[in-house]
């Protein structure tokens, strides 16, 4: 069981993320960023994930192949609010993509965060390689991959299941699917078999767990168990995590509060109050603190310069000169 202190910490990080995401949405609506996509509704799972990661660079740490709803994980790992706001406002100082990519498209070499990319499911192909490297080198790290439910229809999902479960060549990959029951506007039951996602992993002999991603404490425990298995057995494990999509798909679909879905923060607050770990005024104070941090960060970012147009040729190749040849 997690101590009160640990529960408080989780709560704080959940709220911090939510505040940040709501700020990003406001930025989009007021023209301070072209597009928003993010993870409100997934904090109760993504914060515990961030806490349990073996963070660092190289094979002896966990390799992370994330999708665009992982802000809670990144903030938990230590990412700064202001940096996310920088990416939202696409300024040159955006440390993840230099103003090139959408918000929540992270890339952090020191933490093995492989850069998040918009195409759905490709990370399930790339993660095979870090898994192979870790397996062969008998490294201490494992590979963790996350993505959505609709995306499991892409072939890379099968590639990941198959390559990681080859007999005597199993890979240490924690395969996570966050199931919010939607593609953009397409309900899951319209395009998927009723057997569910975890069943498909079982077909490869992969161990699985179904997790209520709206509860941070059960999420934490389930993650601990699954990670323990992958770290020790060096075999794949699939977690299907049921989460909410509180602001719809993205700014393309309006980014308005949708209602009718469980809000993990509200739910957790009820628990914390019941267990007398925190009270309403604590909640308010925390929220305020992060709202101020976000606001301050935004003011700073709004003054920062946009990228230099000539910089488009930077990083085409490792040695820039080749890019300019043409």
């Amino acid at each position: 069981m997690l101590s009160s202190k640990e529960q408080k910490k989780i709560y704080e990080l959940m709220v911090k993320t939510r505040v940040l995401e709501e700020r990003l949405i406001k930025m989009n609506k007021s023209g301070q960023g072209f597009f928003w996509i993010g993870g409100p509704g997934e904090e109760a799972f993504n914060v515990p994930l961030g806490l349990l990661i073996n963070k660092g660079e190289g094979l002896n740490h966990d390799f992370l192949h994330f999708h665009y709803r992982q802000s809670a994980t990144l903030l938990t790992m230590g990412a700064k609010m202001i940096d996310v706001i920088r990416q939202m406002h696409n300024v040159a100082a955006d440390p993840y993509s230099g103003g090139r990519n959408f918000v929540n498209h992270f890339a952090v070499k020191e933490w093995n965060v492989v850069n998040v990319t918009s195409p759905i499911e490709v990370q399930y192909a790339f993660c095979i390689g870090t898994g192979v490297a870790q397996a062969r080198n008998k490294a201490k790290g494992i590979t963790i991959v996350t993505g959505g439910d609709a995306g499991t229809a892409e072939g890379e999902f099968q590639s990941c299941l198959l390559w990681s479960s080859r007999k005597n060549r199993e890979l240490p990959i924690l395969i996570i699917v966050t199931n919010n029951r939607w593609g953009i506007s397409t309900p899951q039951n319209e395009v998927h078999p009723k057997s569910g996602i975890a069943a498909r992993a079982k077909g490869f002999g992969i161990k699985t767990a179904a997790v209520n991603g709206n509860n941070p404490l059960t999420s934490y425990e389930a993650l601990q168990k699954a990670m323990h298995y992958v770290r020790k057995e060096r075999k794949p494990f699939l977690m299907e995590v049921f989460v909410s999509r509180l602001y719809g798909h993205s700014s393309a679909s309006g980014a308005n509060w949708v209602g009718g879905e469980a809000d993990c923060i509200r739910e957790f607050e009820k628990q914390l109050k019941k267990k007398k770990i925190m009270k309403d005024s604590d909640f308010q104070k925390i929220r305020q603190k992060y709202e101020e941090e976000a606001k301050k960060a935004l003011i700073e970012v709004l003054e920062e310069p946009k990228p230099d147009p000539a910089s488009i040729f930077n990083h085409v190749f490792v040695d820039r000169k080749d890019a300019e040849l043409v």
């Binding site: 953009i184 397409t186 946009k306 990228p307 147009p309 040729f313 043409v326």
Partner: protein, 350 residues
Amino acid sequence: MATMAQAIRLALHYGEENLGVKDIFGEDVGPPLGGVFTCTQGLKNAWNSPLDERGIIGCAMGLAIAGQRPVAEIQFSDYIFNTIDLLKMCGNTLWCSNGIWQVPMVVMTPVGAGIHGSIYHSHSFESIMTHIQGWKIVMPSCAYDAYGLMLSAIQDPNPVMYLIPKALLRSQGEEKIPGEPENPKELSKMIDAPLGDRSQWKPKWPDLGDPKMPLGKAKIRLEGEHISVISYGRMLPLCMEAARQLADEGVDCEVIDLRTLFPYDQKTIFDSVKKTGRVVVVNEDTEVTNYGEHILRRITEDCFYYLEAPPTLLAGANVPGIGLSEPLEQASVPQLSSIINTLRKVAETA
């Protein structure tokens, strides 16, 4: 006048009613959304596919083989690149079977920059697509052509790739689609879905006609004597604007809208270049192994002795993506200013 998105919707409706189209499908193509750009709103045969582009193209090909007339959508051309082997097969099935199996299908997909789409909602596709055989490839630059080309695409017995210049989807046309009501507001009331709950909504379709727009025919949008400007899709209106501004300087541009990228209208192109002696091809795809280079190569081979200045390509920078930030996007794809500068330079070359 209809927007390009409405024009596509009207064409698909005409296809459902008159041309045997029973499947209009892709990711989020069916209700409630009707496509991320509303191109398939309210269509009775529109349905949502799994999030699987390879399955979508495979399904379309199977439907075509089975004698249906499917229209499949890939949500953004940025996500079509995992299907290229299948596209090649759609295009080679007739040939491989020595004429036995026809594949009459349409694939539509939005292309190009201009909506702050960043790296994965800004891709062009014509250069790779024109390198694939057995397909006809079209790209409208206005609502009227969007309508006419779609009807012809559906009726063609070959696979047709229908590239949508996404930044133009909301732009209104200047020419009335056959059957379109006079007032664009009326059209909107009839066929645009309401905000909020749409479960009870039904569109009211106008009574539409077929303008019979042949594939493979370019359109001279502006006649001129000094320089041939060959373009299509999103760059076409920019070229027109550039031509208007250059006219004030005494530079007389002939602007050609290709409309069909393959098979393309060689006669119109060659006739124009032979007249003007100068040619610029403008598109926004990246510049290395670019479709415009094919057009220029054919011009150089066939009209070499008419050329008075180097035939020139103005295209996207050879970088891996369009950056989100405004200055990055502007530096990556042709802008009005760079078009004007390039045309002026070529016009002035002695």
